[in-house]
C-alpha cells in the first residue's frame, strides 16, 4: 500500500491512484504549504504497474538531485526522495511503492482495515455495520445492522468521511479518484446462474448449503445463516406452488420473520450480510449479492429462483417447480 513520508514533519500518508500534492488546501490530496510550493505542485500516479511522478509546478520538483521535466511522467520507487520547489527542500520519501489500496484508516488507535466488500465494523464477531461495494451505484456503502430496513440508513462513503462503530473510528481513504467504467465494475455473474441446494437435518438444527454453478459444485458447509436462507426459500416455493407469480411470491413481513426465527432485526441483518459475504467470496466471479435477499418496505424474500431443499433424504421444495421425489 503506497506511502510517502514527509521527512520534515515525519508524518506519513497513503497515496491514491492519482494523488496531488500542493499548497491548495481544498484541492490537493496532501497539503504541502510553503511559499515556493505551487497550488498543485506534483501529481503521483499509479499506471497499473508502478508509480510515476509528474511535475506541475512553477518552481520545479526534484527526484533526488535531478529536476523533473515539467508535465512528464517519471517512474518512482521505494526509497526515492522528492523535493518540492527547490532541491534543498525537505524530502518526501517513498516508503512503500505497492499498489494503491482503498482503506478504512484507523483513528485514535483503532486498527486500519482494507476496504473490501463485507468488511464488518467494528469486527466480525459483534458487527454493528457492514461495508459493501454497490455495483449499480458504483460506490462504497455502509449498512448499519440496526433497523428493519437498512436501506434507509445506509450511506455512501466518500473519501475523507469518518465512520465510527463500537467505540472505534476510521477515516475513509478511497484510492480510486475516477469513476470506473460500467463494464469493469459490472458483476460477471447473476443470481440466475446459481442453483442453491439446501440440506436440512431432520431436527432442523443444521443447514448445509451447496451451490451449483457453471458446472461446479461449491460446498458452503453448515452455517447458522443458511437456515435463514432456507426458511425464506421454503416460503417462496410454497407461495409459488399456491399460484403467486414471480414478482409477488416469497415476501414475508420483518415482524413475522422475527417471530419465526425468534431473533431481533439486527441479528437477522447480520445473518443476511454474512450469507452475502460467504457466497460472494466463494464464487470466483463477481456477483452483485444485494439481490440474494430482496428487501422492500419492511419485508424481505429470498432472491434466488433456482433451488432445492432436502430434509434428510427427501426433496421437500424446489424451484423451478419439479416433482418432489422421494429417494
Amino acid at each position: 500500500m503506497a506511502q510517502i513520508r514527509d521527512t520534515d514533519t515525519q508524518r506519513t500518508f497513503f497515496l491514491r491512484a492519482h494523488h496531488t500534492l500542493g499548497r491548495d488546501a481544498e484541492r490537493s490530496d496532501t497539503v504541502v504549504s510553503s511559499p515556493i510550493t505551487s497550488r498543485i505542485h506534483v501529481a503521483l500516479e499509479w499506471d497499473g504497474d508502478q508509480w510515476n511522478a509528474r511535475d506541475l509546478s512553477k518552481n520545479g520538483t526534484w527526484l533526488g538531485n535531478k529536476r523533473l521535466i515539467s508535465n512528464e511522467s517519471t517512474p518512482i520507487a521505494r526509497g526515492d526522495k522528492l523535493h518540492l520547489g527547490a532541491p534543498e527542500m525537505p524530502a518526501l520519501e517513498v516508503v512503500d511503492d505497492g499498489p494503491p489500496q482503498s482503506t478504512l484508516v484507523g483513528l485514535n488507535g483503532s486498527d486500519s482495515l482494507e476496504l473490501a466488500s463485507f468488511v464488518f465494523l467494528p469486527d466480525q464477531n459483534e458487527p454493528e455495520a457492514v461495508v459493501i461495494y454497490s455495483f449499480h451505484r458504483r460506490a462504497w456503502m455502509v449498512h448499519p445492522m440496526e433497523q428493519d430496513s437498512p436501506q434507509h440508513l445506509e450511506r455512501m462513503l466518500h473519501h475523507g468521511d469518518r465512520v465510527g462503530y463500537g467505540g472505534r473510528e476510521w477515516q475513509v481513504f478511497l484510492a480510486e479518484t475516477e469513476q470506473m467504467t460500467e463494464i469493469s465494475t459490472a458483476p460477471e455473474s447473476s443470481l440466475e446462474d446459481i442453483e442453491f441446494v439446501f440440506h436440512l437435518s431432520q431436527d432442523e438444527e443444521n443447514t448445509a448449503l451447496e451451490l451449483k454453478f457453471s458446472g461446479h459444485k461449491l460446498d458452503l458447509g453448515e452455517r447458522s445463516h443458511h437456515y435463514l436462507l432456507l426458511h425464506l426459500a421454503r416460503l417462496r416455493a410454497d407461495q409459488a406452488a399456491s399460484g403467486y407469480d414471480s414478482l409477488t411470491q416469497g415476501w414475508i413481513d420483518n415482524e413475522q420473520l422475527k417471530r419465526d426465527l425468534g431473533l431481533e432485526m439486527p441479528h437477522i441483518n447480520i445473518m443476511i450480510f454474512r450469507a452475502r459475504k460467504q457466497i460472494a467470496e466463494t464464487l470466483t466471479t463477481t456477483l452483485d449479492s444485494e439481490l440474494l435477499v430482496e428487501r422492500s418496505k419492511g419485508r424481505v424474500r429470498f432472491g434466488g429462483s433456482r433451488f432445492r431443499i432436502y430434509k434428510g433424504a427427501a426433496l421437500t421444495h424446489s424451484m423451478p417447480g419439479q416433482q418432489a421425489q422421494k429417494q
Binding site: T20, S33, D47
Partner: protein, 800 residues
C-alpha cells in the same frame, strides 16, 4: 506486455511504453512503423470478448468511428485482433482525462464552457455518423496539450443506448463541471442545464450550439479597454474622446464629503492581499475576503484628508521589491497585507512600508472571519488609526449596511473586475441595491465606473442618462466627492458640454486639488475638442508631475491622434517599461505598429495582450493584422469570435464582410454589408460613418456611399483613416482619380502602404500614379502580378 513489435499486428506497430490502465483495458504508446507517427493502442479486456455479439458490435462501431474525423473526437485509425482480444489503434493525445485535469488545475468558467461546447460538438458528429457513446463522463474526455477536449471510448459500453442517453449524460457532466461556479453562471447556462436534464429536449447538435453561445457570452466583456482604436477606423470622435477620468479601474471607494486634496498629499498604494494559507476556504471565499480587505483599505485612504490613492490598474501589474514598487508607482507609502486561514478564521497581517527602502514602519494583526465581509471591513477599518496615527478617515455610510448587502456589493465589485457579468446586469443590480441603501457611497462609484466605461464602448447615450438619474439620488454632500465629480466631468465631455466640464476643473483647482490631476483633466478637455497640441502640453505636464499609467497612456494616445506615431511609440515604450502588462498600452502600440505596416510586431503585441486578458476588441485588431498578412482564414476566425462576442460592433462586422469577400464567399459578404447598411439607415449610432460608406460602396450603391463620406467633418479630412475608407469607396465606384487623391493623402499622413495592398484596390493598378506610390512604399507586388498589367507608363488597360 513487452516492448517491441506485437506479432499479432504483423509488425505494423512497435510498442513504446504503457500509458495507463483504463476500465476497458490497457493502453500503450506505440509507433506506427509505416507512417512513423505515434499512436495509442488499446488492448481490450479478454473477458469481455466472450460475448460474441459484443465483439461484432465493437468491430462494426470501430469501422463507423474510423470514418469520423472530428477535432473533438479521438480518432480511430485501425483495428486488429491481438490474439483473443481486439485492439484499437487511435490518435495519441498528449494529456490526461478531464477528471484528472480538474484535479490538477483550476479551470476558468470560460474554459469549462468551451469544453462543453467541444464535447457536444464531438457527440453531435458521432450521432450524425450513427454512433452513440453510451458512457459519456469526465474520464472519457481527454484534454490535449492545446487545452481542447476530445471524447474517447465511444460505443464500447456493454449496453446499447440511444442518443438521448448521451445528451442526458452530457447534462450530468455539465452539472458536475459547473458545480463550483454555480454562483456565477449566467441564466443562459442555467436554462441550458435545465433543458439537458429533460430527456429528449435537446439534440447533441442543439446542445453544441447552445454551449458555444454560452461560452462566447462568457468571454464577452462589456467593460472594455478604453482603446477602441482600429487599424482602418478611428471611432467617431464623440465617443472615443475617452476621457479616462477614472483613476481606479474598479475598486469602488467613496468620500462622504468633498475631498480637499492638498497639492502635497501622500500617495498611498494598497497592494493586493496575499493569501498565504487558504485554510479551508473555497476559491470564492478567498476572493471575497481579499476583495473586502482591499476595498476597506482603499476606502480608508480616500476618506482621509491627507492621503491620495494610487490607482489599482497600476498596483495590480507592478512587479519587484517593495522599494522598486514604491518607485514604479510613484507612491510614498505601501500597505501590504497577508492572510493565513485555519478553517474559516483568518489572521490578517497589515504592514505599512515607507519610502525609500520599503521598511516596515507599522504592523498590525487582526482576526477576521472569512464569511463575514462586513465584519472584515469593520475589523480593517479599526486598524486604520494604528497604521496612520492622528489621521481620521470619513465614514462612508457602511454603518447602515448589513452583512448580506455588503456581500452583494463585494460580489458586484468582483464581477466588474473579472468581467464575469454583463454591464447591464451589474448596473441593474447596483440600482436595486441603491434603492434600499441610498447612503452607501461605494455603490455610486461602482455605478459611475461601469456606466461610463460601457458608454465609451457602446456609444449608447442610455448609459449616460441612467448615470445622471442615479447621481441625482445621491445626497449633495456625496455628490461633491472627488470621484463623483470626476465622473460628472467625463459625462459632460461625452455629452459635448465643454463649459460645464471646464467648471469642474476650475472648482477642483480652486480647492487645491493635486496639480497632476488638474493638468490631466485639462488635457482630456482639450482632446475632446480635437485641440491636440494643447492637449499634448497638458498631458506632458501631468506625466511629468506624476508618471502614472493613466497619464502616460493619455499622453501616448494624444500623440497618436496628433499624427505623431513615433512619439507615441516612444511614450508607450516608457510606459511598458514600468508597467509591463498594461493591456491598454499594448493595444495602442499594436494599432500604431499595424498602421505602420509592422504586421509581425503588431501580431505579437496583440497576442500578448490576448494572453493577459481575452478581449473582443483586441481580437478584432488581431483579425485586421491577419487580413493584411493575407491569412484570410485566420482573420475570419478572429473576426468571427469578436463578432460573436459583440455583434453590434460595426467595424468588426465590416472587417468580417471584407474577409468573406476575400475568401470568395461573396454572398455571405454581401449579406453582412446589407446588415450594416440597414442599421445605418435606421439611425443606429453604433454604425460609424466610414463603415457605412464602405458598406454602401461594396454593395455598389455609390451615390449613398459618397453622400455618407461627405458627412465626415472637415476637420477629420486631415486625419488618415477616413482617407483610407474614402479611397476604397472611390475605387469601388470607379472614380480612380479622386481615389488617388485620397491614397496620396493617407500615405502623406503616415499610413502604411500595406493598407492599400488589398485586392479591393486592384482596379487602381491601371493608374500609373498608384503604381508609383506603391513602389515608393515597397508594395508593388500586387500590381505586377495582375494579368494585363503593362509596365508602360500611361497606357490604361481594360477597366474592370
Amino acid at each position: 506486455m513487452t516492448e517491441g513489435s506485437m506479432p499479432d499486428s504483423e509488425g505494423k506497430y512497435s510498442i513504446l511504453r504503457p500509458l495507463g490502465r483504463g476500465g476497458m483495458g490497457e493502453v500503450y504508446l506505440a509507433l506506427d512503423n509505416r507512417l512513423q507517427r505515434e499512436v495509442a493502442i488499446k488492448y481490450l479486456r479478454t473477458d469481455l470478448t466472450e460475448d460474441g455479439d459484443w465483439h461484432e458490435r465493437m468491430q462494426h462501431e470501430a469501422l463507423l468511428l474510423a470514418r469520423l474525423n472530428h477535432p473533438n473526437i479521438v480518432q480511430i485509425y485501425d483495428f486488429f485482433e491481438a490474439g483473443e482480444a481486439p485492439a484499437l489503434v487511435m490518435e495519441y493525445v498528449r494529456g490526461r482525462n478531464l477528471r484528472i485535469y480538474l484535479r490538477e488545475h483550476r479551470a476558468e468558467l470560460a474554459d469549462k464552457l468551451r469544453w462543453l461546447s467541444e464535447i457536444s460538438a464531438g457527440l453531435a458528429a458521432s450521432h450524425d455518423a450513427g454512433v452513440v457513446h453510451c458512457d459519456l463522463k469526465a474520464e472519457n474526455v481527454l484534454i490535449n496539450a492545446e487545452g481542447s477536449a476530445k471524447v474517447t471510448d465511444f460505443g464500447i459500453a456493454s449496453h446499447s443506448g440511444d442518443r438521448a442517453d448521451d445528451v442526458a449524460a452530457l447534462g450530468v457532466l455539465a452539472q458536475e463541471l459547473l458545480a463550483d461556479n454555480a454562483a456565477v453562471v449566467s441564466p443562459t447556462v442555467r436554462d441550458l442545464l435545465r433543458r439537458l436534464s429533460k430527456r429528449g429536449a435537446l439534440t447533441a447538435r442543439e446542445a453544441a450550439a447552445q454551449w458555444r453561445h454560452a461560452w462566447l457570452e462568457q468571454t464577452q466583456s462589456e467593460t472594455p479597454l478604453p482603446s477602441q482604436l482600429r487599424a482602418q477606423q478611428r471611432r467617431g470622435r464623440r465617443r472615443a474622446t475617452a476621457a479616462l477620468v477614472a483613476v481606479l479601474v474598479v475598486s469602488a471607494v467613496v468620500l462622504a464629503w468633498q475631498l480637499r486634496t492638498p497639492a502635497k498629499a501622500q500617495a498611498v498604494a494598497i497592494l493586493p492581499p496575499v493569501m498565504r494559507d487558504p485554510g479551508q476556504l473555497s476559491e470564492r471565499q478567498q476572493q471575497i475576503l481579499e476583495s473586502a480587505v482591499a476595498q476597506s483599505l482603499q476606502e480608508a485612504v480616500l476618506g482621509s484628508q491627507r492621503l491620495s490613492l494610487v490607482g489599482m490598474t497600476e498596483v495590480d501589474t507592478v512587479q519587484g521589491s517593495a522599494a522598486e514598487k514604491l518607485v514604479a508607482l510613484g507612491a510614498d507609502i505601501l500597505i501590504a497585507s497577508q492572510v493565513k486561514c485555519s478553517g474559516t478564521v483568518c489572521d490578517l497581517d497589515l504592514q505599512r512600508l515607507e519610502k525609500p527602502s520599503g521598511q516596515v514602519t507599522s504592523y498590525r494583526k487582526v482576526s477576521v472571519i472569512a464569511d463575514s465581509p462586513l465584519g472584515t471591513h469593520e475589523a480593517v477599518s479599526r486598524q486604520w488609526t494604528y497604521l496612520f496615527p492622528g489621521q481620521t478617515t470619513a465614514n462612508n455610510g457602511a454603518g447602515a449596511l448589513d452583512e448580506a448587502d455588503y456581500l452583494k456589493y463585494t460580489e458586484l465589485n468582483l464581477a466588474a473586475q473579472q468581467f464575469s457579468r454583463s454591464s447591464r446586469s451589474i448596473l441593474a443590480a447596483v440600482e436595486s441595491l441603491l434603492r434600499a441603501r441610498r447612503d452607501f457611497a461605494p455603490l455610486y462609484y461602482l455605478y459611475a465606473q461601469v456606466a461610463l466605461d460601457t458608454y465609451e464602448e457602446m456609444g449608447d447615450p442610455m448609459y449616460l442618462d441612467r448615470l445622471e438619474r442615479t447621481l441625482e439620488l445621491a445626497d449633495p454632500a456625496l455628490a461633491r466627492s472627488l470621484f463623483l465629480r470626476r465622473s460628472r466631468f467625463r459625462l459632460d465631455l461625452y455629452r459635448g458640454d465643454y463649459q460645464a466640464a471646464r467648471e469642474v476643473i476650475r472648482e477642483l483647482e480652486q480647492e487645491g486639488a493635486d496639480d497632476a490631476l488638474v493638468a490631466y483633466l485639462t488635457g482630456e478637455w482639450h482632446g475632446a475638442q480635437d485641440q491636440f497640441r494643447a492637449a499634448g502640453e497638458s498631458f506632458a505636464r501631468a506625466a511629468a508631475l506624476q508618471p502614472s499609467m493613466q497619464y502616460l497612456y493619455a499622453q501616448a494616445r494624444n500623440q497618436y491622434w496628433n499624427g505623431q506615431p513615433d512619439a507615441a511609440l516612444a511614450t508607450l515604450d516608457g510606459l511598458l517599461k514600468r508597467y509591463e502588462y498594461n493591456t491598454h498600452a499594448l493595444g495602442l502600440r499594436a494599432v500604431i505598429l499595424l498602421e505602420q505596416g509592422k504586421l509581425a510586431a503588431a501580431e505579437q503585441a496583440l497576442r500578448l495582450s490576448l494572453d493577459i486578458q481575452p478581449n473582443p476588441l483586441v481580437r478584432a485588431n488581431l483579425g485586421m493584422v491577419y487580413l493584411l498578412m493575407r491569412n484570410y482564414p485566420a482573420a475570419r476566425e478572429q473576426f468571427l469570435e469578436a463578432y460573436d462576442a459583440d455583434s453590434r460592433d460595426s467595424v468588426v462586422l465590416l472587417n468580417l464582410a471584407d474577409t468573406e469577400q476575400l475568401l470568395g464567399n461573396v454572398e455571405r459578404g454581401r449579406e453582412l454589408y446589407r446588415q450594416l447598411v440597414a442599421r445605418y439607415s435606421e439611425g443606429d449610432p453604433s454604425v460609424i460613418t466610414t463603415v457605412a460608406a464602405q458598406a454602401y460602396a461594396q454593395l455598389g450603391q455609390f451615390e449613398e456611399a459618397m453622400a455618407t463620406l461627405k458627412k465626415i467633418s472637415l476637420a477629420r479630412e486631415q486625419a488618415s483613416s477616413p482617407a483610407v475608407s474614402a479611397a476604397l469607396v472611390y475605387t469601388l465606384a470607379g472614380q480612380h482619380l479622386v481615389a488617388l487623391v485620397e491614397v496620396d493623402r493617407a500615405l502623406e499622413a503616415g499610413v502604411s502602404g500595406v493598407m492599400f495592398d488589398l485586392p479591393f484596390f486592384d482596379p487602381l493598378c491601371t493608374e500609373v500614379r498608384f503604381r508609383e506610390l506603391m513602389s515608393e512604399h515597397d508594395r508593388d507586388g500586387r500590381c505586377e502580378q495582375l494579368p494585363g498589367a503593362t509596365a508602360t507608363a500611361g497606357i490604361a488597360t481594360e477597366k474592370r
